[in-house]
Amino acid sequence: MSAIYILWLRELKRYVRSRAQIVASLGQPLLYLLVLGFGLSPVFKRAGMGNYLQFVAPGVIGMSVLFSSIFSGLGLLWDRQFGFLKETLVAPVSRLQIMVGRTLGGATVAVIQGLLVTTISIFAGFRPAHFIAIPLALGFMVAIAIVFAALGVAIGSSLQDMQGFQLIMNFLVMPIYFLSGAMFPLAGLGPVLTFITRLDPLSYGIDGMRSMLLAQSAFDPRIDILVLACVGSVFIVFGAYRFSKIEI
């Protein structure tokens, strides 16, 4: 247990100490929120869908949680090259504990990042249905963070160096984001797109947040929770398995 705690704490300390990175990582969500939020607002309204900023805010919050959690898992690559990974791998602690500590640490950082973006969107004019909705949405943020931090660890364990990073970014992370319904409603899509969006675990996370924050959703929130719990368990097992296979 203490090993999990100390590795969790390490992730947190590293996050708090990289202030420049915190600011930098808020740039992209801000752009999506403000430019798209206000830019597409008139079209969205004319289509009779209401306020786009309201609609997109949970999506952008989900995006920042997604990016931050996947990157924390890919942080394994940095630890591999700066050598700290070796230090943890030869320690008399099971690899499972090390993996869980890292994953929870990465997930916590991602949730903090999500809360920062939530605060910013409220300043930008986003209004949740109730303020009590925020703690409920927080639960979904935690779920998204754990799912993708575990996926990040699985990928980070499998890559040898940063060359694969662009590949992961363009063919995994961005598609997960764009196909999740973060930016457009999931209802009324063509059959192909409908099918693909149903396969994306982030769809359920963002849908869950939307149903908490705005009381509008494509799926039943119970289904959202169920899917996230199942996918999360699978990714944790997969991540732990990949992590246990690391050789240096």
Binding site: Y5, Q81, G83, E87, L89, P92
Partner: protein
Amino acid sequence: MIRVQNLVKSFGSFTAVNDVSFDVAEGEIFAFLGPNGAGKTTTIKMLTTLLKPTSGSIQLDGLDPLTHQNEVRKRFGIVFQDPSLDGDLTASENMEIHGVLYHVPSKIRRQRSEELLKLFELWDRRKDQVKKFSGGMKRRLEIARGFLHTPKILFLDEPTLGLDPQSRNQLWSHVKRVNESERVTVFLTTHYMDEADRVAHRIGVIDHGMLVAQGTPKQIKEQTGTENLEEAFLALTGSTIRDEGANAADQMRQFAKMWSGGKR
């Protein structure tokens, strides 16, 4: 304490360690010498559960690192050849993580951590982030960290690389101290033959993945008919210069240096 029999490790068609066998007794200081790329680090990685051997067997304190990973890990400590610190954390925090991972009770952890940081003259800088340290300081911190818990076997992979004579001296007297007072078995590699001659009870010389000589420093000198260990080493391994290929991690370190302006 360490028993290695017919150990082989191949990477594709390249055989890094080829049919190596040796024994290290409890309480012994064993120096593993060889030119660059001879297979020293690969052997250490197999002994410390980081790599799986292609064939052959290893026993540490009677346990096989393949089947009893955690039990084996409890028994050894290691100072790696290349860096293994977290640059974003402070010196104290690096020590603390190590202590927790090795189950050192918190009171002893604090006390020993203070002693060691003072011994290696890092105490005044304990609250600074490690990435601000010089190469020598990082090295000293790695060594101090390696001594935080008292293992049965201590692996030192080129521990004195980049250290000044003062720190080197400090390190070897500390190694001798723990070896004598706590019967710690030491397995070390180094390129400084005078160190091996001074510290080691027994020496193994490896070249091109094969063990070419084994014995006390005296035996090795007699065997080769040479005056000192340096000459014996050159007689055994020839005088051509070897180079290891840069691996992916080295290349990335280079890349990262470019980006972070050499801060790490």
